[in-house]
C-alpha cells in the first residue's frame, strides 16, 4: 500500500548569528544551510495495517507524513501510495487519502461542523445517500450527537477534534495519516479517539500511519512501530520486540507489610524506587521467576506485580543511544 525508498527531504534554512549585529549582517549577506529533515528512510506498509510512527520532536515524522500525502516534494527518493506518486497530487490519489493534523484545524471557525462536512461532501463528490450513511455511522462511532449543529468556535477541544475526524472521513479514505490526533485531549477523550481509530480501521480496512507523543496511543493501536531519529530509521518492527530488545528488564513492584531495609533488596535486582508506599525493582526477564520466589520466601510481601517498563522510558533510552545500534 505504502512504499518508501531512500526518501530524503532537505530544507534550506536561513542561518544568522545571534544579536542585532548578526541580524543586520544577515540582511545583506545571508548564509543558508541545508537541514536534512528526513535523511534516507525506507519502509513498506501493507493494506489495513496500523503503524505507529515514533521519534523525538524534529525527528522528521511530520515531514514524512506530508511527503506521503503530497504536500511536500521529496528532495530525492521514491514514494508511492496505493500506486500513486503523492507529489503529483492527482485527484484519484487525493480521493483515497486523508491527513489529520492534531495541531491544525480545517473546520470553519464560525460555522457549525455540519457546514464543513457539506463543503467536503461537495469537494470530494460524495453522492448524497452515501454521505448520509457515512455521516450516520460517524455520528454513532464518535458520539457526535448535536455537536455538529453548534458553531465550531463554541466547541471544546475534544469535541472539536471529534468533529475534525468526522470532517476528514466524509470520503472514507483508504489511507489515513494521523499526526498527533490526541494532542491536548483529556484522558477519556484520548480513549474515545483511540477506540474510534481502531474501529474505523476494522470496519473499512483503512491503512493507518499514526504519530503521537502519547505512548498509550501507540501501545493500544499499533502492533508495529517505525522509529526515526534525526531523519534516519532507527527501528521497524513489532512494538513488543522493540521493548524486549531495548529493555530486557521487567519491573517488579512490591508492597510490604512492614518496612524492609534497602540492603535486603540489593541481590534481587536494580532498585528503582524504595519508599514508604511501594518498592520498584528492575529485574532481567530471565531472572523474574527466581526473584519472585525469593522475595515471597524472604520478605514480608503484601502485594507483588510484574510489569513491562513504561514505553516512555524505553523510547528515551532508545533515543539516548542514538544510532549506536542499527536496526535489524
Amino acid at each position: 500500500m505504502i512504499r518508501v525508498r531512500a526518501l530524503r527531504k532537505h530544507y534550506q534554512v536561513h542561518e544568522r548569528p545571534p544579536g542585532v549585529a548578526g541580524a543586520l549582517r544577515s540582511l545583506f549577506h545571508r548564509t543558508y544551510k541545508a537541514v536534512a529533515a528526513v535523511d534516507g528512510i525506507d519502509f513498506d506498509i501493507a493494506a489495513s495495517e496500523r503503524v505507529g510512527f515514533l521519534g523525538p520532536n524534529g525527528a522528521g515524522k511530520t515531514t514524512t507524513l506530508k511527503v506521503l500525502s503530497g504536500l511536500l516534494h521529496p528532495t530525492s527518493g521514491e514514494v508511492s501510495v496505493d500506486g500513486h506518486e503523492p507529489r503529483r497530487r492527482d485527484d484519484a490519489f487525493l480521493q483515497k487519502i486523508m491527513l489529520v493534523l492534531g495541531q491544525k484545524q480545517q473546520l470553519l471557525w464560525d460555522l457549525p461542523p455540519s457546514d464543513t462536512f457539506e463543503l467536503n461532501r461537495a469537494v470530494y463528490g460524495v453522492p448524497r445517500d452515501e454521505y448520509a450513511a457515512t455521516l450516520r455511522e460517524l455520528t454513532e462511532l464518535l458520539e457526535l450527537g448535536d455537536l455538529v449543529r453548534k458553531p465550531a468556535r463554541t466547541l471544546s477541544l475534544g469535541e472539536r477534534m471529534k468533529c475534525e475526524l468526522a470532517a476528514a472521513l466524509i470520503h472514507r479514505p483508504k489511507v489515513l495519516f494521523l499526526d498527533e490526533p490526541t494532542i491536548g485531549l483529556d484522558v477519556s477523550m484520548q480513549a474515545t479517539v483511540r477506540g474510534f481509530v481502531e474501529r474505523y480501521n476494522q470496519r473499512y480496512g483503512a491503512t493507518i500511519l499514526l504519530t503521537s507523543h502519547y505512548m498509550e496511543d501507540v501501545q493500544r493501536l499499533c502492533p508495529r512501530v517505525i522509529v526515526i531519529d534525526k531523519g534516519k530509521l532507527v527501528y521497524d518492527g513489532a512494538l513488543e520486540a522493540l521493548v524486549a530488545r531495548i529493555r530486557p528488564d521487567k519491573r517488579v513492584v512490591l508492597r510490604f507489610t512492614r518496612p524492609v531495609d534497602r540492603a535486603d533488596l540489593a541481590d534481587l535486582g536494580t532498585v528503582v524506587r524504595h519508599g514508604a508506599g511501594d518498592t520498584v525493582l528492575d529485574v532481567h526477564k530471565d531472572a523474574v521467576n527466581r526473584v519472585v520466589t525469593q522475595a515471597l520466601a524472604r520478605l514480608p510481601v503484601a502485594d507483588l506485580t510484574v510489569e513491562n517498563p513504561p514505553l516512555e522510558e524505553v523510547m528515551s533510552e532508545l533515543f539516548a543511544r542514538g544510532h549506536a545500534e542499527p536496526s535489524p
Binding site: 516534494h73 497530487r89 484519484a92 487525493l94 480521493q95 457546514d115 461537495a122 470530494y124
Partner: protein
C-alpha cells in the same frame, strides 16, 4: 460543471458566514456609503474649477468613477476576502487542508470567501452611470454596453491576476500586509481617467499596473470611443496576466514548505 457546483457551495458557505455577523453587515454598508461620498468629492471639486480635463468632461469622468466603484465591489466582495484567507492559511499552515483536497487548489482558494453585500457597489455604479449620462444628455448604445462589458471582463481578470500574484508572494515572504496595502493605495488612482496622468506615471498605469485597462477603457467603451485595437490589446493583456499568474501560483505551491510542525 463540477466546478460550478463547487462555486455554488462555496457561495452558500460565504453567505452563511456573513449572516453570522449581521452587525458587521450594517456597519460595512454604512462605511461603504461614506467612502463612496468621499471618493466622489474630489471629482466634483476639480470639475467645478475646470469643466474639461484632458478631454474628459464631468459626465465622462463619472463613467470612470462608476467602473471604479463596480471594480471595487468586485475586489472587496469577491477577490480580497478569499485572498486574505489564503494568506492566513499560509501563515498558519492550514493551507495543507486546501492542498490535500481533490480539486484545483487555485480555484478553491480563490472562491473561499465572498462578501455578498458588496453587491451594493453594483447598484451604486449603475447610479453613477445614470448620473453621468444625464449630464451628457444621452444614453449608451446597446453595442457600447456590450463592448464595455467585455472590457470589464478583461479588467476583472487583470485585477484578480495582480492580487493573486501578490498572494503568491506570501509563499516567500509570509507577511504581505504592506504589499497589499500599497496595492490598495495605488488602485485608488483608478478612479481618475488615465489621461490625467503624464509621462512615466501614465506608462506605469497602462502597462505595469494597468489601471487604464481597469477603469478608463471600460468607461471609453461605454462612451463609444474605445478603439477595437485597444480592446483586443486589453483582452490579450488579460489573458497573458492570467497565464502568468497560473504559472507563478503552480511554482509557489511546489515551493510550499508548510508551517507549524
Amino acid at each position: 460543471m463540477r466546478y460550478l457546483r463547487l462555486l455554488a457551495i462555496q457561495l452558500r458557505t460565504s453567505l452563511l458566514l456573513s449572516m453570522q455577523y449581521r452587525a458587521d453587515f450594517l456597519l460595512d454598508a454604512f462605511v461603504e456609503v461614506f467612502w463612496m461620498a468621499t471618493a466622489i468629492l474630489p471629482l466634483v471639486v476639480v470639475f467645478r474649477v475646470r469643466p474639461v480635463i484632458a478631454g474628459w468632461s464631468f459626465g465622462d469622468a463619472l463613467m470612470v468613477m462608476g467602473w471604479f466603484t463596480f471594480l471595487q465591489g468586485v475586489l472587496e466582495g469577491a477577490i480580497n476576502p478569499s485572498l486574505v484567507t489564503v494568506v492566513e492559511h499560509i501563515r498558519k499552515g492550514t493551507l495543507d487542508f486546501v492542498l490535500i483536497k481533490p480539486a484545483d487548489a487555485q480555484f478553491l482558494v480563490s472562491t473561499a470567501r465572498f462578501q455578498p453585500w458588496r453587491a451594493v457597489n453594483v447598484a451604486t455604479s449603475l447610479g453613477l452611470f445614470a448620473w453621468g449620462f444625464a449630464r451628457l444628455g444621452r444614453g449608451p448604445s446597446a453595442g457600447d454596453v456590450a463592448l464595455a462589458a467585455v472590457a470589464m471582463v478583461a479588467a476583472v481578470v487583470v485585477l484578480y491576476s495582480l492580487w493573486m500574484l501578490t498572494v503568491s508572494a506570501a509563499f516567500y515572504f509570509v507577511r504581505i500586509d504592506n504589499l497589499s496595502q500599497l496595492f490598495g493605495a495605488v488602485f485608488d488612482a483608478a478612479r481618475w481617467p488615465v489621461q490625467i496622468f503624464r509621462g512615466v506615471v501614465r506608462a506605469v498605469f497602462t502597462f505595469v499596473i494597468p489601471l487604464a485597462l481597469m477603469t478608463t477603457y471600460p468607461a471609453e467603451a461605454l462612451l463609444g470611443r474605445l478603439g477595437t485595437g485597444t480592446l483586443l490589446g486589453a483582452l490579450a493583456g488579460a489573458a497573458a496576466a492570467f497565464v502568468i499568474t497560473r504559472l507563478v501560483w503552480t511554482a509557489s505551491i511546489g515551493k510550499y514548505t508548510s508551517a507549524g510542525g
